[in-house]
Symmetry: C2
Amino acid sequence: MEQHKIAVIRVVTIEEEKLNLHGKLIEKYFPNLITESYCIPDQYNGVYDDISHEIATEKIIDIVKQIQSQYDGIIVSCAGDPAVEVLNQELDIPIVGAGHSVASYSLNFGDKIGVLGIREEAPEAVKKILGDKLVKSAKPVKVNNTNDLLTEEGKKSVIEAAKKLEEAGVDTIILACTGLSTIGVAKYLNDNIGIPVIDPVFSEALVMNSICKYKYFF
Amino acid sequence: MEQHKIAVIRVVTIEEEKLNLHGKLIEKYFPNLITESYCIPDQYNGVYDDISHEIATEKIIDIVKQIQSQYDGIIVSCAGDPAVEVLNQELDIPIVGAGHSVASYSLNFGDKIGVLGIREEAPEAVKKILGDKLVKSAKPVKVNNTNDLLTEEGKKSVIEAAKKLEEAGVDTIILACTGLSTIGVAKYLNDNIGIPVIDPVFSEALVMNSICKYKYFF
């Protein structure tokens, strides 16, 4: 089995021992991806609005330019896809974001997509791919950034928001914040609501693995 | 590595020794998918217009109803996705078509998609997913069904059509006929034109593999 060395960029400043949590998930789902993790500095609440997105973009570009020669691909582990489009134009290795990955993958499951994230509106990268198949976005009440998801109240609020999307008639739910992968809520939701719920870290790993395979075979 | 037993339905009547050609490709790309192949009876030119699509749909449903209990998933190896939507509503195992697979996957590569198939218009399943990101469709001149692709003239004509799509400004090309996977033209095109060309049999295998994984992890 061909192995690929992948850098995972976390868009929130996190302590060393939690840094590779997404990397570990990626390796569990696709064992031929070998990951090393980085995070952006001085941004403890991650990406949660337009300004934090802009600031993160510059920091991601800085990190990627320093490390890219060591890797077969870069995953920007954020559903807002900060820096992904611009880096894809500049670099020779694939740059994959969670946003385009989870959005494109969801279209295999349905055509009335609900988006559950930490902002009122779905991320631009997600909206662009879904077009008129985006039926409704929802933000859990009391969740305003990735850290709020780590509280018990935050988790409860995510489950309520997912149930509301289902009641609104969507046939598939996208989790549009990788903090929702951190708390592992996709499995719980898939077990407890009647429609598919698509995890963003799984999706970014899927797309990276497929592009590495694609480059190998074609 | 978890293995999955997958039935591959070919939508053209073919002789025994060529029946599992797509199955072999699928196993090469994703070695944990173990395939067995079937084809629809009495349809030697496959699916190439609305009427042949309709007739094939009934035949596929008949086959799938007989065999589904033996498999973890069914791939309908056709970019028109005949029978896929109706079967997905009826069965408990995943039914994957090449059309939604290649269309959704292509959105990770670009947003100005060209569709190269054997009909003037892109298949409905592909159009539905791409929406306004479908920029242009092309049909190789002198190719009217899957068998025409097997001739030298047919292959030349495919390459010309792909170059025209690139000149028209698309940033990604979808091969919207699995007969184009049979002749292995994606590798040639990827080596010879400047934009990604996405293969439908690779894409259907990718989506089936990912859904099997998804069911396992979530």
